[in-house]
């Protein structure tokens, strides 16, 4: 039977949205292959939370008591379930842990792995994964020669669909952690750095990247957002959040927020895939970048090639004038 095992990440009593998408996608694909989608949660999850994955199409949910937030214990847990069961594929939603777990699992099982997968289809009893490559300029298709194929989705690639099929049975599995999985311990998890700002509710987002030059550069972005007024806010890339220039709560992308404002205006942002996945659904995308070859121009509706230090202050003034007049 072609069953699919899905890792469901959870934190503070909620299942990750991308994991819910992966469970829904696995249920759809398993249906086409004539198998079932099962999910696995690792760590503290009560019956209600684990069982709720049934709503998204999981026919069974495994629960393994192991440390949370680290990849290698999950590799141990998933390898055990896969080896004791009957699985042809393992599926992950987008995120960071999925990459680490999926890759580790591939090494453990001698399995093939594809990451950043944007679509999966069943054909002739097997799954084919589509993976954009070379900065999304081409899409490759991947089939698996191994007994188990590992598919790691791109952020937001799979839509979560609650089907109303009720709770799934939860089965506890005992996992023996491998020695190396015990050599990493979480000291603190999920620390929020910087102010708690809301970018998800904004209609207009002025997003700043490394091109702002320094933390103070964000003032240009804030002034522009201020000129738009109303429901506008400033957002950021991981590069500048990691550098401590702007709060984590304002970060868009793979390990940040997913947004879809009416206007997304990028200043000094290159347009890396991990940023793009969090904002590509925006209605209007405007980018200001001095590098005409910056990837962000590939997916902008309006691209401005130029120095943001020259353009932003004038743009702020012009918008103020327009609004005033």
């Amino acid at each position: 039977m072609a069953n699919i095992l899905v890792y469901a990440l959870h934190y503070e009593g909620a299942i990750n949205k991308n994991s819910l998408g992966a469970v829904s996608e696995a249920a759809r694909l398993a249906g086409e292959l004539g198998g079932e989608a099962h999910a696995i949660v690792v760590g503290q999850a009560d019956d209600a939370l684990a069982g709720s994955l049934g709503e998204y199409g999981a026919k069974k949910v495994y629960r393994a008591d192991a440390p949370e937030g680290l990849a290698q214990p999950v590799v141990d847990a998933m390898a055990k379930v896969i080896q004791d069961g009957d699985y042809s594929y393992a599926l992950f939603g987008g995120g960071l842990l999925g990459f680490e777990i999926g890759a580790g699992l591939a090494a453990r099982l001698g399995a093939g792995v594809a990451m950043e997968v944007t679509a999966v289809r069943a054909e002739g009893g097997e799954l084919i994964a589509e993976r954009p490559i070379l900065g999304d300029s081409a899409i490759s298709e991947i089939k698996y020669r191994s007994d188990v194929g590992i598919i790691i989705g791109r952020l937001n690639a799979f839509e979560a669909r609650a089907g109303g099929s009720g709770a799934a049975p939860v089965e506890d599995v005992a996992v023996e952690l491998s020695p190396h999985a015990q050599q990493a311990t979480m000291v603190t998890r999920g620390e929020q750095r910087g102010a708690d700002v809301d970018i998800e509710g904004a209609d207009i987002l002025v997003a700043g990247g490394r091109g702002l030059g320094k933390a103070e550069g964000f003032q240009l972005a804030e002034e522009l957002a201020g000129a738009f007024g109303g429901n506008s806010a400033v957002a950021a890339t991981r590069a500048v959040v990691d550098a401590g220039w702007y709060p984590y709560a304002a970060q868009i992308g793979q390990t940040g927020k997913t947004v879809a404002p009416k206007l997304y205006l990028a200043a000094g942002i290159s347009g890396a895939i991990q940023h793009k996945v969090g904002m590509q659904a925006s209605e209007n995308i405007v980018a200001i970048n001095k590098d005409a070859n910056a990837p962000i121009f590939e997916f902008s509706d309006l691209g401005v090639v130029g120095d943001l230090n020259k353009i932003l202050p004038k743009l702020t003034e012009a918008i103020k004038a327009k609004k005033g007049g």
């Binding site: 899409i139 990493a184 206007l263 121009f297 509706d301 401005v304």
Partner: protein, 263 residues
């Protein structure tokens, strides 16, 4: 302590990356360079070595790649590595992530490092995952996207951003760490270091030398089988304004926004 840094040769950032229509593999003609993300890994190794909290005997740059990859190793050495190892063999061509990680792990086993460092991603492959594969093959703990790393003799305290914010993780050595590009600002090599790089020991090895099972590597033996490449659906190209006269540029932007009722 012995540190191995995994480095890769990639097409230069200015080269348009594309697939070779005949082989379906990356077109590797054109200018190449050391993967920029790997310079952060080398810098991290150098900062541990120079930091003084642990004694580092050696920093070794390791790559798997064609003959030309020697230049990436020279660059790595000019940035501070003491010597380098070049795994090269026609049998390795077209290896997927799992096969590449397996092959690199066999080279590393011979070196038995206390710490293996990698970049956050290769600029061409963009898999983000070689580190996790190598760690599993070596049976070592690992973490990717690390942006802060405190080293002591008994281990590392690492910080990185994951799905829900910043995590701090303690790791025992030996370990495999992929560093994020915010971890440091890589140095520029001195002219002297560039000139001297070719004189540092470079160990060229093939699959047989490091016990790589040839039936586990290469395009034909990779479990992820890349069957076809297609073009993504064409998206209407956006409008582009080259900023020559900023007053005019701003006028155009405002008009564009106004047309869409965004102001």
């Amino acid at each position: 302590m012995k540190i191995c840094v995994l480095v890769k040769e990639v097409p230069d950032a200015a080269v348009q990356k594309r697939l070779d229509p005949n082989t379906g593999l990356m077109d590797r003609s054109g200018e190449k360079n050391l993967n920029p993300y790997d310079t952060h890994a080398i810098e991290a190794a150098m900062q541990i070595k120079e930091g003084g909290s642990v004694d580092v005997e050696e920093v070794i740059a390791v790559t798997m790649g064609p003959d030309s990859a020697v230049r990436a190793l020279h660059k790595a050495v000019s940035l501070g590595a003491d010597r380098s190892v070049h795994l090269s063999d026609a049998a390795l061509a077209g290896s997927d992530v799992a096969a590449t990680g397996y092959a690199l792990a066999q080279v590393l086993k011979r070196e038995s490092p206390d710490l293996v460092l990698l970049g956050q991603q290769s600029d061409d492959g963009e898999c983000y995952t070689i580190g996790a594969v190598v760690a599993e093959e070596l049976g070592m703990p690992s973490l990717t996207q690390v942006i802060k790393m405190d080293t002591s003799t008994d281990g590392l305290t690492c910080e990185r951003q994951a799905e829900y914010g910043y995590d701090t993780v303690k790791i025992t050595l030996p370990a495999v760490i992929s560093v994020g590009d915010a971890i440091n600002e890589p140095r520029y090599p001195s002219l002297k270091a560039i000139m001297g790089a070719k004189k540092k020991p470079l160990d060229a090895v093939s699959t047989g030398d490091v016990g790589i099972d040839a039936a586990k590597v290469g395009k034909e033996h990779s479990a992820a089988n890349w069957v076809a490449a297609k073009q993504p659906p064409a998206k209407a190209a956006g409008e582009i304004i080259e900023d020559e006269d900023t007053a005019e540029t701003v006028e155009k932007i405002v008009a564009w926004l106004d047309e869409r009722k965004l102001i």
